[in-house]
Symmetry: C2
Subunit: 362 residues, 2 copies
Amino acid sequence: MTKAEDDVASLRHKPLTARELARLLGVSQSAVSRAFTPGSSITPELRQRILKAAAELNYHPNAIASMLSKRRSNIAGIVVSEMQNPFYPTLIEKLSRGLQRVRLQSLMFNITRGSNVEEQLVALRQYNVDAVIIISATVLSGASVRWATEGRAAVLVNRTIPDLSVTSVSCDNVEGARAIADHFHALGRHRVSYVAGLAHTSTNLERQNAFVTRVAELGMRLVHCIAGGEYSYDAGYRAGLDIARGKDTDAVFFANDILAAGGFDALTEIAKLRVPEDIAIAGFDDVALTRWPHYSLTTFRQPVDAIVDKTVDLIMQQLSDATLPSSHNALSGELIIRHSTVGKQPLEIIGENKPSPLTNSL
Amino acid sequence: MTKAEDDVASLRHKPLTARELARLLGVSQSAVSRAFTPGSSITPELRQRILKAAAELNYHPNAIASMLSKRRSNIAGIVVSEMQNPFYPTLIEKLSRGLQRVRLQSLMFNITRGSNVEEQLVALRQYNVDAVIIISATVLSGASVRWATEGRAAVLVNRTIPDLSVTSVSCDNVEGARAIADHFHALGRHRVSYVAGLAHTSTNLERQNAFVTRVAELGMRLVHCIAGGEYSYDAGYRAGLDIARGKDTDAVFFANDILAAGGFDALTEIAKLRVPEDIAIAGFDDVALTRWPHYSLTTFRQPVDAIVDKTVDLIMQQLSDATLPSSHNALSGELIIRHSTVGKQPLEIIGENKPSPLTNSL
DNA sequence: TTGAAAGCGGTACCAG
DNA sequence: CTGGTACCGCTTTCAA
């Protein structure tokens, strides 16, 4: 009855504007604006009076209007395409928090591969986002990236595009792949294999090249270099079966943890191999499942927090200085040794979260 | 053609505005606006001329300005808090796509539990989002929800708050829990246990109550009802150990798949029980890992696509009719039977994705 | 159908 | 420090 009317009324109710608030207080509208602008010239008394009244009357400055006149949206567009890998949700969550800390809201753009990508990104331009953060490892061509980022702060996360002058932040894939090769070597393994993810992505290429190179340097034999084709459990599983069929590998590096999980299950449950006695397994990323007792997977931990901090930092820098030259930032990660390479015994000695100085320094 | 070049050059830094485009074409600015507004009164010829010029000169209407005058942001705020459970990234991705289909962008609000929640949501109001979709199963109190959603289209996804007149959409947890109890019963199991997730969430309460009730109805014995405390692998693992210690359970229902995975590993690897011979295991959600051969987990599949469609639909309805009464929508899911309850043999007969009519209809 | 003009709710510059 | 006032770029009457 009255309730329904009330609801309608409250829906229709227009929020208080700065102008009205000013009129109510007998001050100018400019004063209200200043009260909400840190560092603007206004006496503390006036500001307090206005803020107090604003709180009481439930006044909030309209961000849209502010955007229009400031030509600043305080919005960061995050372009994402593959949430399947659990590494990304975590990254995005932290990134979103990091951005909120510097007063940037995250507008998510989920793009689907295949169909016209640029069309899916027109909103990026229409909403006038201040910054663009591209997390999609794939999908976007160099041209699309340039188009989406031109004229605004932009960072590519976990991906680089060589010929493009767009700043990037990622884990040091070369360091990681080398650390794993070194670790295998230190364990006395000599017949190693590599399982690739999405072949043409920078993450995969960097890990693969660094690993293959280091393996050669150390005099180990690269038995297989399998094209997983995608970063999925299934691809890892199939690769695991291939490796088992080859019967000659004693250590495998999977391009990421999900692949490694699939490979692990195939190798242990189908091929009946013992991990790590018959074959050692390592992944990349350090997602949650690597810590599950069933897997206890040796992996290279991406420095997620550092990646987020660096990204936010670079965005802020670009925002305050549009001429900032682009840079490529590879952040150092950490080898995490677990049962899948050293078995249960040594782990007690080595410690779960610290890489052994010994194996790490090879 | 020199004119066009000039124009292109001049808009290198400042994007073209409707006013300028109008001047260039010798038409009014209103005409430009109409050209971009479907269904507005303008001759097809004029519209074509304007759209053609706009495309050539790379003109895009400024969404911010449009929001300000229309008092419509075309933005949906998605409030999220726990991306750990892989069910949510999938849901959010699909939801975001569904919203894009009706021209709503998704502004993500990641809220952290504990600290002042409302403070984290002021942006929701400042950005004038048209719709609010709350996916956080926890964290938000009824009061916060009311505050965040008042005066705008809103839907709670996968959560209900009884006394609140906010529309909700979720999987039919009661149906799911009963289906699993029935399935256990059909398998001839009589000593069942339940492992709870976050105790006070509606998802957990509904599943738990329905399961416990149905178990009693069927004359089975509820051996344990374990408080997992959270929806995590570790909690499931611990619960699995507890159940094994009790030595009396022949079928367990875990409140979600992640718990079930942890429980599975604890029961098989630590307690050395055979699944499903010694103990049958079922989860809830049907996330990707349930299909991993290692787990092959029987579960109740949430109708994600239907949830997304219904949510988008309800938002659109509310947007066009502010008086729409709130409703609680429980969508029907599907029991997915895999090895963890029936073992490898029967599966060939039953088929992987279709529940057996026999076991399902009990 | 079309153009002119008045907002939408702030910001920022200018004079006092 | 404060108030007045031109915008920001688009939508939407209101006349013509």
